[in-house]
Structure formats: C-alpha cells, structure tokens
C-alpha cells in the first residue's frame, strides 16, 4: 500500500447511520492522487452520504476518513482549502448573479484564478451576469461546476455533476475533469449512470445499500464483462445442446433463435453452435450498465 502522502482519500470502516436509517456502512476505500474515481450506485445507495462525510458536513457514526493524510473532521478547514465541492442539489440566493456568487466564494478561498473561471464559463456556455433565480436547472448546475473547479482544487468532489446537463455540455464537463486529472488533481464523482463515468474514470466503486460492493478499474470491469449473443439457426435447435457450456450464463432458445449471455470467452459457445446450420450471429459488448446490473444480480443471488 502506498504511503498516505500519495493517497487523496482514505476511508476506514466509514459508517453513517441517520438514527436507525442506514446511510453507508463499513466503507473502506483508497483513492490515489491524480485519479478520477467514479462512485456509482442507485438512488439511496449512500453516494451523497459518503461525499458529505468527506466534507465534514455530517459526522461518521463509526470509522474515519482522511484526505491528503489529514483527518476530515479535525482538519476540516485546512482540507477545504484544497477542495472543490458540487452538491447533488446546489442552492443559492436567487437574487445574486453568478459572478457575484463566484466573487464571494473566491474571496473566501484566497486561492483562485479568474482567467480559469472565465475559461470554464465560456466552455460551458454560461452567462455569469444573470441572476441565479432566472437560470434554468442546467445553468444553475454549471454555476455549481464553475464554483467547484475555478480555484483549481487538489481534490474535486462532485455529487452527480452532469445531472441536468445536455449531452454536449456533459461531454465538455468530463473533458474538463480529465484535464484536471492530467494536471495531477484528483476527481471523485458520483453517478448512477455508468456510461457517464465510463470514459472519464480510472476506477469505479459500486455502492449498494450503503456497502461498497465492487472497486475495480474500468478495464478489469470490462474484461469481466458479459456479452450478449444472438444466433439465428437454419432450423429449430434443442436448448439442451447449450446447457452447461463454460462461460455461458443464460440460454434462451425459441425454435431457430437463441439468445445467450456469456462471461469471458465465447469459444465454447461458438463451437457448440457450429454443429447446427448458423445463419447469423450478433454479438454485443455489454456496457458498464449491464456489468453493474450483473454485480447486483450476483450480489442478490448470494444474499
């Protein structure tokens, strides 16, 4: 394990209960400096809880967290000097313009770079002279993003950063985050949409009902990927011919059509199919969405 100096985030047994309600439970996670980490989970899984714990907005029931080697509670103010945060539902005084708001935050942070702020606003196509109350949801979200990024923080914590943004802007945001990582800054972003972090994250953690179910690199996740294969045969085939083949998870045969879900190599399946007349094979890479669901399904099966 790397020295704590190389770690942006370390949590050990981090647990949060809201009274009897489970927030997160026993989350132990390491995020390296300069990494883009995608934190994934469905609604209510505990993503916001995790991020708000890191910010010391809420306090753990058990366990602890460090950011850049410092305790998130004891050294909270010092940590927040090198932090940028976008909450899941950013809210502001509706009478302030974007620029007034950002000026205020910039003053509190000492460290800030107004040319980068201008660049961000331009790239996200955001008008900072309008009042927050007049902005659409997506444009408010953009102000939140500029606010979280403008001072070039060492750690960027984003709770569902691309929600409410159109695809073009979404893409631009992910590009900005990628650039930040290239400059050695760390990005921790939550999402329920896997496709959203797939192209930007180095690793993802999947949280489910408060527990960290999986932490994997994107490549490893994909190599464990399920593939969906549809085969059209010349005539009806017996389902039994494909039972128990290595890697084949699911078989559905309807006369001359068969659908398979395969993990890893499809060699055995192709060889078994070749004893019949094959008219067509369609193979689809499972995207992360399906992998994600598989993890859940496996989890549920074992539970």
């Amino acid at each position: 394990m790397a020295a704590s100096g190389a770690e942006a985030i370390v949590t050990t047994g981090l647990t949060k209960f809201y009274g009897k309600n489970r927030g997160i439970e026993d989350v132990s996670l390491h995020v390296a400096k300069g990494e883009v980490f995608g934190f994934l989970g469905p609604n209510g899984a505990g993503k916001s809880t995790m991020i708000r714990l890191l910010l010391d907005l809420i306090r753990p029931s058990r366990g602890a967290a460090q950011i850049f080697g410092r305790d998130t509670h004891a050294d909270s103010v010092a940590i927040r000097r090198s932090l940028g945060y976008l909450p899941g539902e950013p809210a502001w005084n509706p009478d302030l313009t974007g620029a007034e708001l950002l000026d205020f935050y910039a003053g509190l942070r000492e460290r800030h770079d107004s040319s980068y702020r201008t660049e961000l606003a331009e790239r996200l196509d955001l008008d900072l002279t309008r009042r927050m109350g007049q902005l659409s949801r997506g444009n408010k979200q953009k102000v939140g993003l500029v606010q979280a990024l403008m001072h070039k923080p060492d750690l960027i914590l984003l709770d569902e950063p691309t929600s409410g943004l159109d695809p073009l802007v979404q893409h631009e945001v992910l590009t900005v985050l990628r650039e930040a990582a290239t400059e050695g800054r760390t990005v921790f972003l939550s999402s329920h949409v896997l496709s959203e972090v797939e192209h930007v994250a180095d690793r993802v953690g999947i949280i489910r009902e408060g527990r960290l179910a999986v932490v994997e690199t994107i490549e490893r996740l994909k190599s464990r990927a399920l593939r969906s294969i549809d085969i059209r045969f010349g005539r009806a085939v017996p389902a039994g011919a494909f039972e128990g083949l290595p890697g084949v998870k699911e078989v559905t045969v309807r006369e001359a059509f068969a659908h398979f879900t395969v993990e890893g190599s499809i060699d055995a399946l192709v060889k078994a199919a070749s004893q019949f007349e094959v008219l067509d094979i369609v193979s689809k890479d499972a995207d992360l969405e399906e992998i994600f669901l598989t993890y859940y399904r496996n989890d549920e099966a074992s539970a």
Binding site: Y18, S48, R52, L55, L57, I58, R59, S76, V77, A78, R80, R81, L83, G84, Y85, P87, E89, P90, A91, W92, N93, D95, L96, F104, Y105, G107, L108, R109, E110, Q147, A148
Partner: protein, 266 residues
C-alpha cells in the same frame, strides 16, 4: 474589514433590500407618531382616564402618563410597538441565517469553503448586530428629527440611551434565535421559541412591578434591562447595557458550539 468579515459583509449585502424596507417602516411609524404629538400635548384628561385603569393595564401600556413627551414616546413607541418590530426583525434574521439557510441548502454551499462553522456563526451574529444597529440609527434619527419638527422636548442623550437599549435587546433576542436555529437546525422552532421567550419576558418585566408574585423574578427577563431603568428619563444604565451585551455574546458562543456538534441537514 471586508477582508476579514467577508461572510458578514455578504450577509448584510444580500439583506440590504429587507433592511431598507424595515428602515422605511420604522421611520414612517416613528414620524407619524411623533408628528401626531402636538394633538396630544396638554390634553391632561388622557392621564385622568388612565388613573382609573387597573395597575396591570397601566403597566402593560407603559405609562401612567401619556401626555408628557417621555410618557408619550414610551407608551406609543418604546413600550411595545418598537420592541415588537425590532424583535421580529432580529429573531427572523437569527432563525434564517443558520437554520433557514441550512434548509434551503445555501449554507452547505458556504460550508464547502475553507471556513469553520464557528466563523460562520460569529460573522452572521456580527452581521445581525450591525443590521439591528442600523435600524436603531434610523429610529434615533426619526424620533430626533420628528421631535425637532414639532418642538417636542426630549433629551437627545436620553433618546440615544433608549435607542441603544432597544437595539441591544433586539440583538440579544436575535442571537438567541441564531442559537436555537444553530442548535436545532429548525427555523420555525427557533423563531417560535424565541418569540415565546420574548412575549413571556415582556409580560414578566412589565407586570412584575404591579404583581407581587412576579416581582422576585423581574430580573430574569431581558426586558428588565431594556425598560427597567426607563432610559428616556434616566439615560444609559451601564449594568443593564452590559447584561444585554452579555446575553448576546453567550448566545453567540452557544450557537457556535451547538452548530459545531451536529450534522448539517440536507
């Protein structure tokens, strides 16, 4: 100043329209009341009417004397009307600035910056005090100006003392509201309880002199340190001034401690 007290400055700036509205309201009330004084001057029979009233009612209305400049100002403004206005303003701000903004989510945005919760509480309590002081200045100017216009004889120093005492009373209650909001995270609870304390305190302080059972408890009411010494006649009471400032300071420190210990609500 702006460098250090950025949050206070921003809070005042964001509330400047509200403060302007309240200032206009206070000014209008005060001017109308004072300009009406000539109609009252010399109407001693009003005081005769008061003589037959029960003591408790006289105490609540603030004066046995409605006709002298001091009696008129006390009964019409300083006894009930002005404390009600100033306290509503201060308690509202106190409840809003931690608990209200917490509920709205704007406090979370602020706390993502490198500022401690204690600093947020301290700066907002300063902002609250500054806004109430500004309202107090408007009050002083309104009464002094109106009195000059209608030739109402009133000591400027004593008027200043009354405005100061009222301002400090409102600041104290505002900080109590801030404390309850910071402690519980619930604005309506904070405003409700603080207002209830204010009403109880008002009744206690005004009725204690005429109701024997209440008398020993008089000094537990913050209002005692506002009107107990009748500043329009006696000027500044140093001890009373210190007590009001102490209430505000203790409430602020308690607010910081109460806010520090708990989770920020979503």
């Amino acid at each position: 100043m702006r460098q250090v007290l950025r949050i206070a400055w921003q809070s005042i700036k964001e509330n400047r329209k509200g403060l302007l509205g309240w200032s206009i309201g206070v000014l209008a009330l005060v001017l109308l009341t004072v300009l009406f004084y000539p109609a009252m001057r010399g109407q001693e029979e009003f005081n005769d009417i008061m003589k037959d009233m029960p003591d408790a009612l006289k105490a609540l209305m603030g004066a046995e004397d409605l006709v002298s400049p001091v009696g008129y100002l006390n009964s019409q403004l300083f006894q009930m009307m002005l404390p009600a206005l100033f306290l509503i303003f201060a308690i509202g701000r106190g409840g809003e600035w931690i608990a209200g903004e917490e509920r709205k989510g704007t406090l979370e945005m602020l706390l993502a910056n490198p500022v401690s919760r204690a600093r947020v509480v301290a700066e907002r309590s300063v902002a609250l005090a500054v806004m109430v002081v500004l309202l107090g200045v408007v009050l002083f100017a309104g009464v002094a100006g109106g009195a000059a216009l209608v030739g109402m004889e009133i000591g400027i120093y004593e008027l200043l003392a009354a405005c100061l005492a009222l301002t400090l009373l409102a600041v104290a209650f505002g900080e109590i509201g801030l404390f309850l909001g910071a402690f519980t995270g619930k604005k309506s609870l904070s405003v409700g309880i603080t207002s209830a304390i204010a009403v109880a305190g008002f009744l206690l302080a005004t009725l204690a002199p005429v109701v024997d059972v209440l008398e020993p408890f008089e000094k537990y009411s913050p209002f005692y340190y506002y009107l107990g010494n009748n500043p329009l006649i006696n000027g500044v009471d140093l001890l009373h001034t210190i007590v009001l400032i102490a209430i505000a300071l203790v409430a602020t420190v308690a607010a910081a401690a109460g806010f520090e210990r708990r989770d920020l609500a979503t």
